[in-house]
Symmetry: C2
Subunit: 798 residues, 2 copies
């Protein structure tokens, strides 16, 4: 058991560590050479094209020589607070703004809670002093004296704790309600304020049945012309271009090597680099590197052209899925929300994600295999959650000094040192866990991809959910109860339903110290390392050294990143859980969480404003998950308190607390009904409002050209340089008002769309994406920050 | 414990009882005087207007004198099988046809299952003979020797049982799949074959927000004109006419008394009946009865007129709900399936039930109170399920002879008689339960009504679900485990998850005898009494004697009834559960269930063809519930077998069986996705097909007049005789093609509906219901079989 002293040492460590990170950040961010690492958002949004603090001299271009700026090295904090919420939404999107609100919500919930709990509960807990009278052999930390453990069994004082639980639940629910209603209205306002966007008019149709002798495109055309005669506009077939995409990635890699070698050659013209042409360049004839890569790229381009032709011509490459566009938001909303076919497993419709948000690779998964994939992955996640604990438990048992001394008796002289002992006990258990958790998000994201979700935002939410379950079982339960998660599961199966909360509840107060160190290691230090951006910093400078030739390359070398939802959301939710569980049990934990929320709020605000560039905009679609997890945290805290009190022989209090989970669930249900549809559906009233607003200024013809290639697979847009052979057919046609297009589309049930359709979905890839769909602005032209390559980077190197 | 002898006595009793019922039925049904009791369906469908076997003489009108017909008294059975399924659908509707298929499904499942189980498992069970070697003090019935209890612990023979469980599960799932797919396609075909019906075009909108200074009608008009401009046709406001309905019922009651007195007077002109005019006719001045009732009715008619005016004029009587009709099925399907308003708790839409199916009283419930009502009722149902057992357990403990002798020692000489002992032990426990269950469906139906569902079909389904839970806990679990349901719940909470199936599983084989008697008492005798229709028989003849004056009165006195879904479905499902649970454990139970299914199939087929007149047509909407309950029965049987085997120390078999529930759940999930939408949603493809089919023959104007009063509250249609003052405005108007109506409704976003709307919903109650909406045909004219009164009878005296 860690004592208060251990905690202090750990806290000191972490504070010093965090401070060191902050200092390093403060120094590094002022250097002009790092400007693109710490302020990439401003470059991307086009508001900055050269470093701010760059001096006139040659050295000044790389190092900040202005001494004054160093004295105000913490001034990023007030700066981060300057931007208003509306400006943040405008600058970084609603997702980021809502994400920041979660930290603010944490502060709103826990500041008053901490104040009340510290003032009321700590005196109550301390005054009883049961633990002083206990056997001294039991190692009790000082922190336990501040916790509920210190209260005598059957004490009347437990009513303080119960009433506090009521108060805290009520307070949390109040704030959650206000927050949900606020976020929902922000989302609706945000969606309403958006201009014309492709996803508002488009529905993703999957499981299109195959009719022999008829192409998928024809089927779609005739089905929607018949069943949505007044609203159907056009559609975009979905291609299985995964092989092509692999070739594109290979080409990008080769291009990087070519650039690298050419740059070397330019700097050192006398020495041409050579490489062996065999396997991995390890053996074979020595040839000139630049020629080698040039040749390779040429070969690959031929392959690419062929593969591309194959994808476009081969009917097997057309998946039974399509993006179907309508001439009004109303029509799309109707199609997305209704059942189309008599067979409910065919013609499945749902809103299309925005084009940036689509994870193209998964569109090629046959719909029938999705159920099996999801089943397999859920089994895999279960296994991961319940067997991953074994190595962690092993390392943690090492950190237990007695265990370590047994395994390695020669370490005894070292571990006997008081300082090192404190360090090991206070720091290592958390660190070991953190290291194990490092690889996890990647694994979980891969699992989510295997499940076959087609939107990046959904993938991230699903990965976040898996990560949360993992943390709940392994970090929360796994730390509270000894043994691996699988052993716990076994134990729970053999325990009665009333026994489980008692088993967990009784160990809760004892683990407060562990969670305090966890909050410091994972929370404080983690956030501090987030702001330093060590990895992007190193990679940027490496790229700058070896590949970057032009300004365009420099922009490509920037890696602004984005809010890492799959990792940050679950840990955030874990802190909410810890805070709510310990608020009544060991209130001394709350200040540590408060520091985390405040610090993280500053850091993420800074990052959102200056660094991150979101890849997609889901308009806060993750909020319902956050909300329901906080509710579940409340429920867990109530159940555990119930269990804890029943071991304290205050079992008569059970009926008092049992009301609380019921009320909480009722509240959750209410919120779900009241607000969740705003995140899942698009009301017809809203769609009609927007349609009426747009109607005077828009015609169907404009809309058709606007939608024509919005959902074209991005690879068909790439390589304008390489291949400019084929000529756009549709888009130019669409601009000429055809007789059928110019007349009002209502009450025309005929099949006038057929005229130019079969080839339509194929031939308009030479055009730039319409600029209102993507956020490339002003100076960073769309040439520089290419959509295609970027998209593939994100998809494959997630 | 009942022995085989007890069972034989009980079986003999029940068989004799059932046979007596059948004989009585065979004799009674041949009498012309009872023709309207046993063949009302033919009168209602207009195919018969006078008794079939009526002889020429005066006596022959009442008693069947043709001796020959008595010899073929069982020929109703082959007659019942003559009608094909298509004819039954045509004759009695799809609900009845699907209901009959459930019994057929029971036979299909259990006939092969019984054959295999009896041939394979009984020899396996008998051969071991563990129970012979046990202590003789334990009273073991002979039936136990045929059950799994007889197999030695750790025996390898349990693999027979496990493989049988696999086989039975597989067989059941196969049949369920085929059945679900068949019922779903029958439903779709039935819906597609229906002519134009009001509910296809109509959506029920609830929670219409109140805008001050604007009537609900105006709000609906402007909201739907705006958001469904091309499809909105008209709407019908919903009135809170519950008080008016109460007065109507009172008037009907008085009218009956008046008729009765007048008839008395006609038969006995010299003696006028008198009654006292005070409270309940117990004191006060003596006055002439006929005058008294005539006066009362006159008074009431005045009140009725006033109340009616009040309902029509008072804006408070208009509920925030409306039936909104569209000009196409497509438009209605879209509106029913989408979210209308930005606030998801307003403007809630769902398909309108067919007019006959609406439970008008509940439309007057404010939507906000529904959540609270449902919560309260679910608590009440929980309490009912878990505390209702106390009196039953008391009576059952009396039926336990030792207990009875203790309470009433003077009965000992009687109970010592072997015959009476067998009777008490074999017959009474089931009967006691049955008597207690008698009042239950009414209570559960009232609870469902309080919950506020607006369709009678939904009410019946919800009542059926409650009844099923009740039977599952109290009949199934309550009979297996001693103690009240509440004690069980308590015990389960304190047991581990793995212990519960063991506790139940171990008692399962011991209770086989109880369930065999239960099947005979509840199943066999219950079905036999169903065909006799004792209650309708008595009531019909009483009415005939006292009230019936004219042919019209005689038709009114007929009570054809309908399939009693809230009671028959749950008991059916209980038999499925018993069959599936005991198939492996005590296969000797299966033949008893088979007899039940076969017998019930004959009886209900006869009743559906000759007696029942369904009040509504839900097109088999109850099927998904039946399907999922059978799946749950499978799951329960698997879990209990697992528990039973683990007590038999065949715990190693657990992994073998644990796969089964997972597969079963996967199958259930698949069926749900594949077939359930056919019962919940209306695909746009289907709607469009029907629309296109109808379009040439129909115009909007016709449709508008057709829909005009389809959803008018039935009381506004009544009392044509009493009140013919007001003049119909809308319907006659609608027949004249108005300028706005005759043009195509598409692309007219203007508010031309406003012209005649505010009064529209009010003034067309003088018209008869359109004959295609209701099933009154040919000879039974709609005058005779009044919609209004009938509907109120059904609603209030359920």
């Amino acid at each position: 058991m860690a004592t208060l002293g251990d905690i202090a040492v750990s806290a000191a460590f972490n504070i010093v560590g965090a401070f060191a990170f902050l200092l390093a950040f403060a120094l590094l961010r002022l250097q002009p050479i790092n400007d693109r690492v710490y302020f990439p958002k401003w470059y991307i949004s086009g508001k900055r094209s050269s470093p701010r603090h760059a001096g006139g001299s040659f050295v000044g271009k790389f190092v900040n020589l202005n001494v004054k700026t160093y004295f105000t090295f913490l001034n990023w904090m007030p700066q981060a607070l300057k931007m208003s919420e509306a400006e943040i939404i405008d600058h970084a999107g609603l997702d980021s703004a809502v994400f920041l609100r979660i930290y603010l919500l944490g502060l709103k919930i826990f500041v008053p809670m901490a104040a009340v709990a510290l003032v009321v509960l700590i005196p109550v807990n301390v005054s009883d002093g049961t633990l002083y009278s206990l056997n001294k052999d039991l190692v009790i930390s000082n922190i336990d004296k501040l916790s509920i453990s210190n209260v005598r069994s059957k004490s009347i004082k437990f009513f303080f704790h119960i009433s506090m639980q009521y108060l805290f639940t009520f307070w949390t629910c109040c704030l959650l309600y206000k927050e949900y209603s606020r976020v929902a209205s922000m989302r609706l306002r945000f969606l309403a304020s958006q201009g014309r966007r492709a996803e508002q008019f488009t529905v993703l149709v999957r499981n299109i049945p195959h009719v022999s002798g008829r192409s998928t495109s024809d089927s779609v055309e005739s089905f929607f012309s018949k069943n949505h005669p007044e609203h159907y506009l056009c559609h975009q077939a979905v291609y299985n271009a995964n092989k092509f995409a692999r070739l594109v990635r290979k080409r990008n890699r080769l291009q990087n090597w070519l650039d690298y070698n050419q740059l070397k050659f330019e700097r050192n013209p006398e020495k041409r680099r050579r490489r062996k042409n065999g396997f991995l360049g390890l053996w074979g004839e020595k040839i000139d590197s630049i020629d080698f890569y040039k040749h390779q790229i040429k070969e690959l381009d031929k392959k690419l052209t062929m593969e591309r032709q194959k994808v476009l011509k081969d009917p097997k490459a057309i998946m039974p899925a399509a993006f179907v566009s309508f001439n009004s938001r109303w029509g799309a909303a109707v199609c997305a929300q209704t059942q189309q076919s008599k067979n409910p497993t065919l013609w499945l419709t749902k809103w299309a994600p925005e084009p940036r948000d689509i994870y193209w690779k998964n569109l090629a998964i046959p719909y029938v295999s999705l159920t099996i994939r999801r089943f397999i992955i859920s089994v895999a996640v279960f296994a991961l959650i319940f067997f991953y604990m074994i190595p962690i438990a092993f390392v943690q048992s090492l950190a237990n000094l007695e265990g370590l001394e047994k395994v390695a008796p020669f370490l005894r002289p070292v571990t006997e040192l008081k300082f090192i002992k404190s360090f090991l006990q206070g720091f290592l258990p958390g660190l070991a866990l953190k290291i194990f958790l490092f690889a996890l998000p990647t694994i979980l994201m891969i699992m989510s991809k295997v499940e076959g979700y087609v939107a990046k935002s959904t993938l991230e939410r699903k990965a976040a959910a898996k990560y949360y379950y993992f943390m709940l079982v392994n970090v929360f339960l796994g730390s509270i109860i000894a043994g691996t998660a699988f052993q716990q599961l076994r134990a729970f199966l053999h325990q009665s339903a009333t026994q489980i909360p008692r088993t967990i509840g009784v160990s809760i107060p004892m683990k407060a110290t562990f969670f305090i160190t966890y909050i410091m290691v994972d929370g404080w230090a983690g956030i501090a390392s987030e702001i330093l951006r060590l990895k992007p910093l190193v990679i940027f400078h490496l790229k700058n050294m070896f590949i970057v030739k032009t300004e365009r390359d420099r922009v490509k070398a920037m890696d602004p990143g984005s809010v890492d939802f799959p990792e940050t959301l679950p840990s955030l939710q874990l802190y909410f859980l810890l805070g709510l569980v310990y608020a009544v049990v060991t209130p001394i934990l709350l200040p540590f969480i408060l520091v985390f929320f405040a610090f993280a709020y500053f850091v993420y605000r800074h990052q959102v404003i200056n660094v991150y560039n979101q890849q997609y905009e889901s308009a806060g679609a993750f909020w319902p998950h956050v909300h329901s997890r906080i509710i579940w945290s409340l429920l867990i805290s109530q159940l555990l308190l119930m269990g804890l009190l029943s071991t304290k022989k205050a079992a008569n209090s059970t009926p008092l607390i049992i009301v609380l989970p019921i009320l909480t669930l009722a509240f959750h249900n209410y919120c779900k009904n009241r607000f969740e549809p705003a995140f899942r559906k698009y009301p017809l009233e809203e769609a009609m409002d927007k349609d009426l607003e747009d109607r005077p200024s828009e015609s169907d013809v404009n809309l058709k050209s606007f939608l024509a290639d919005a959902y074209l697979h991005p690879i068909f847009r790439s390589f304008e340089e390489v291949e400019l052979v084929e000529v756009g057919v549709d888009k130019s046609q669409a601009h000429i008002p055809s007789p059928s297009g110019s007349s009002s589309s209502s009450s025309h049930h005929d099949i006038h769309h057929h005229e130019d359709k079969p080839s339509h979905s194929v031939h308009h890839h030479e055009y730039e994406p319409p600029s209102n769909v993507y956020h490339y602005k002003a100076e960073v032209s769309s040439n520089v920050y290419e959509y295609d390559t970027e998209s593939y980077h994100n998809v494959y190197h997630y």
